[in-house]
Symmetry: D3
Subunit: 263 residues, 6 copies
């Protein structure tokens, strides 16, 4: 959840007439955070994506001027995580249901008189749906709609990841573990953190997740323990840096969104 | 959000292997809190139902032994609130979508090896859907499924409500305002709290909400300011009592649920 | 089926121009009876709910003035009966389909120029769907929409049921058997009527169906023969009284509905 | 409604154990009558199709041996009548909903242990849906499923219709009016019966409804009063003949269905 | 694919402004060819229906004046073929999906400013859906919509089919094999062409496909090799005649469609 | 359409038994080409994406050994093009329908005994749906499923595009126009080819389509003539190079797919 200083931006803390009469409503940016409840290996909580998106958002808000017109909706923790459904603790919506939920929230935001909506996504498995559904929401409501994916912001090339981690470290590896160690160390079972880049992945002709070949995978296809990446090298300092970088970028993008115009 | 001492019961703080191997899984009670984001008059935040369900749950957990096997899922703040969709700040799912979301969460809970699921509902408009969908979830998963409606627990006949409030005070009146004054006074715009029992309601032959005649209403049909009840008489002491009573009841029912058996 | 004197109220016996030009159309009450085709134990036909709702309606119409503007639609015998789907003779719609059917009938009633629609429901398993779908119909059509549940009217506290029957007698017990003995004795296999309050139900901490704990059940969870209640004490005289009471109440409520107004 | 002698074939009058244990269940034919509630011009009730399908079925049953294993389900009066939705009194389901209803009833019939299901259809607008959905039901349940369209049986070439009536008389004309005059004369407003073959239809290059060109029409496209055919020449004697012919054919086909086998 | 001289009628070869400004748009006929990818026995390709509908269309276009305003959409090769889904190479949509696809294409055609749409269908299993969905498209868009079934045009009574072939030859028999031998002989494995009228079909009381009894069948119910008809008597000359007859008829009907009017 | 030498890979030209018994079925790659029918400015046909995907595929097949086990399904020309629905000639499916179509084709491919499916996509608006639906297909069928986007292969950084074109040239600009000039010059209205990078796009803080900010756009939001890019600099030579590069890459990826394995 939001830190005390960010709560002023939590839309549901406002009354209905306040929301109706918000100043600067044409510029105001409504943020819908979405994430997941899904397995993150033996060492991270299933809430990892949700914690990260909230932490990044909280920090991004702290970087904006107090009067910046940004309004945060409640986290939609339930996402599309069917790749992980073989693992306990994964709570997943189907694609079709997630699409419906996002469209209906979009419709409600438009009815409330806002003009700009951002889906701030913390889970890779939601990416494509967020990316296409924003067009459908725009078509149906006229809203300006944006998708921002937190995990694309947390460890830029400059972040010092090993080459392997850049290629294979997509789930519960260095990045996510470091972030959790930074902001929720009490939830990390560090002693169980694996270095898990299954050998067969390295035999792939193409790097598996960002190369030229997009293939469908379910988690058990590629890793027995649910982890892809080296969680043993994680530490809180890296996490702080990842979070800080991401927050800075997101804050900047929120400013851009408030100013965005097609005309 | 859950208080520190209750967080031990927040399921998503566990890792996937922990969830797979939880002790006492046959007894363990998984709780899905659901509520709403919807107008609550000029004086209460649109998050009122969500705040109340979380507060009651937090207090109920505090009344259970530490080792009691209860696991809380993230709040589904988005409910069915189409009665309020004419008011800014109302974010509503359609009936069909809410049904899908609940069924799919139920399916995921079953896949995670649990046997008992409670939908803990804080919003009147979700009531019927929660009440019938639990059967569909049981049919599809074999889970034992329960529905508990927080607002039915917060102000029992003994609560000292005026007669009018008992009959008409269903939304943002004495009960909800008192509770918010107790647990989130900073979110209440007390100076705007209305006494709002529209005169025409009293001309109804039958009491409108719990009498023998069930009629469909949208909020603008019955109240211009979105409030039904007398919020001016609310105070934190009453709120404390309402919450306390509800928490005690819910805690008791959770014990019963852990022991429930058809055989 | 409606008795001869009630047929004047059967809407489908009218021609389209007659329906277009009905007098008093703002007051006119359109009734959609819904019920079920589902197992009712070894002694009652699977049509029991349908027979009861039609009998009560017929008697209610007889209590209204001839010129009272009430129009009955054909019975939707097919309801949501998945609790009984393990028993032969149960014909059930899914929740999703029943919702669609009710909404589309509501849309058609509105297009025909009516202003008031009552879903008159004879089956417990349809209750929640009728209760929430009326709001959705109102939202989509502007109709005034009402839900009346016949089984809530047939045996009020004053009806002289045993205490056990009041608590456990929800399906094919004294009430339903008595009513069938009264109006369709030829369809009752009285010699097979059981007294069936499974012992384990009495071990429940809370009374199972109307107590504070709402749990999902499928019929095989709670009774092997499909009956809940004591059908052996049923008789036609009681049935007559139950029906008569219910008809009187329904007639009264129909008058109220014709006069109902939000303004 | 079924006549007294036919009621022995009404499935819902049986108890669940009786249905489970019906003799000759492999041969037994379950009939689902479907029809419509839709405008039938100024002289016929909107229930016309429903009345006809029930009358024909009743007469067909009377032509079968008492012990013939045929079981009738409740009429689904609500069909797909969107061609008539511009006229008051038309109650229509969408295509999608009718498909769902038929499939779910089919599923329930299979679960009850039957092997043969007939959709006995009384409304032209349901024809195609009945004709294709039987395959989907067979695919999903393994039932033998059949579609019989009553209106294709009621006035064979030998029936003595005028040539115009054979071509244009598809709705509320000689055939339907004669049948209603025979079996429900009290519901016919004979003085308003039109001869209604709109002149423009005769200018069509192809006969409009059974010629080589299948075009989509909504009723207002082709007739202002909702009638296609000459209702002025109708009389009860013809109706008797039409009904009798149809009943004989349907009875014969039901025998064939009981004997039907792929092997 | 369309032959070079027909390509001028292929709508997608036009630019968007050309389509916006087409002359004679009120008369212009848009054709959506639909067919199947489904087993056609051991001797014909699974694309048979698709090839035939394209060949007939190509020939029909050749019979129309160059300036005739007809515009062909891309073939929808994927149809409803669940009767054949037990055979490799069958690619089938569900009924529900095919309905959606057709409605959405219809909506797009209307948005493009056309007034007339023909579904030109080459597969028996699509027939009913095409026949009813045209009404739904008309209702939703106001388009004039038509369904033409190619296979009803390719071998009229005068075509010289044997009596058996007329009755049983519905799939991969003389007609389809002859046509393929005419237009795509390289795709026919003539040496494997069976004479396949399973003996048990002849024991049916009624001719199975066009008699008075409509029964649901899946292909394995009636033929082991997937063929119904005598493919051994097929030859290219017959195919030429069938195609030629069909093309002439379709061309004529397209003229009629361009002139069709309800007024 | 496929060129003669590629037709040996067109799956629907095979018979059902051939498909059942194809050699090397574990390796065999089934390709489903999908594209669009949508406006491509004043100079390119609405079939542009469909033409390109087919041309690239045809050329890729030519680069593979004759015996390479690759099987092409019919093009699904209808895609998700709602961004262009304001322009005539755009035929679009909804997201929900495209998802269903892809899943059902995937199910059919699996039922036919194949193990590998590639969605070969030629339209940007289909990208996200293809990318997530492959996982759902894998989950439901066990197939290995891949998504390849042709337009990501046709003009790599080395292609010599201007910087502006790399950033803004996403629709009907240099790349697509050059390709059409190469393979279908007769369909290009070169004299109308615009240079269309609307000035306001250059005022955007971030490059609009591949920068850090993903925003929803409908075509009229960003360009009046439907073009984004400079089509005036297109020529056939470039088109040849783009096609050749893409074909080489796709051929290589198809080899990789045939060899792909998780184990």
């Amino acid at each position: 959840m939001l830190s005390p200083q960010s709560r002023r931006h939590f839309l549901p803390y406002q009354t209905s007439p306040q929301i109706a009469d918000l100043p600067d409503k044409d510029k105001a940016v409504v943020i819908l955070p979405i994430a997941s409840v899904e397995q993150h290996g033996p060492h991270l909580p299933v809430y990892t994506d949700s914690l990260i998106v909230q932490e990044v958002l909280d920090r991004a808000l702290a970087r904006l001027p107090e009067e910046f017109p940004v309004w945060v909706l409640p986290l939609l923790a339930y996402g599309k995580s069917n790749e992980h459904s073989a693992f306990a603790g994964t709570i997943t919506l189907t694609s079709e249901t997630l699409i419906r939920v996002l469209k209906e929230i979009g419709g409600s935001v438009a009815r409330s008189g806002f003009k700009r909506l951002v889906i701030l996504n913390g889970h890779g498995g939601n990416t494509e749906i967020a990316d296409f559904v924003i067009r459908d929401i725009r078509e149906q409501t006229g809203l300006l709609v944006f998708a921002l994916h937190v995990y694309l912001r947390v460890a830029p090339p400059s972040a010092g990841l090993t080459e392997d981690e850049q290629v294979y470290g997509i789930h519960a590896g260095d990045v996510e573990t470091s972030i959790l160690l930074c902001c929720h160390p009490e939830l990390v079972r560090r002693e169980l953190a694996p270095a898990s880049i299954p050998a067969h992945l390295k035999t792939f002709k193409h790097p598996p997740f960002m190369g030229p070949l997009t293939f469908a995978w379910l988690t058990p296809d590629i890793t027995a323990n649910g982890v892809l990446g080296d969680a043993t090298v994680a530490n809180a300092e890296k996490g702080e840096r990842y979070l800080s970088d991401a927050a800075t970028q997101i804050a900047e993008l929120l400013r851009d969104i408030a100013d965005f115009s097609f005309a």
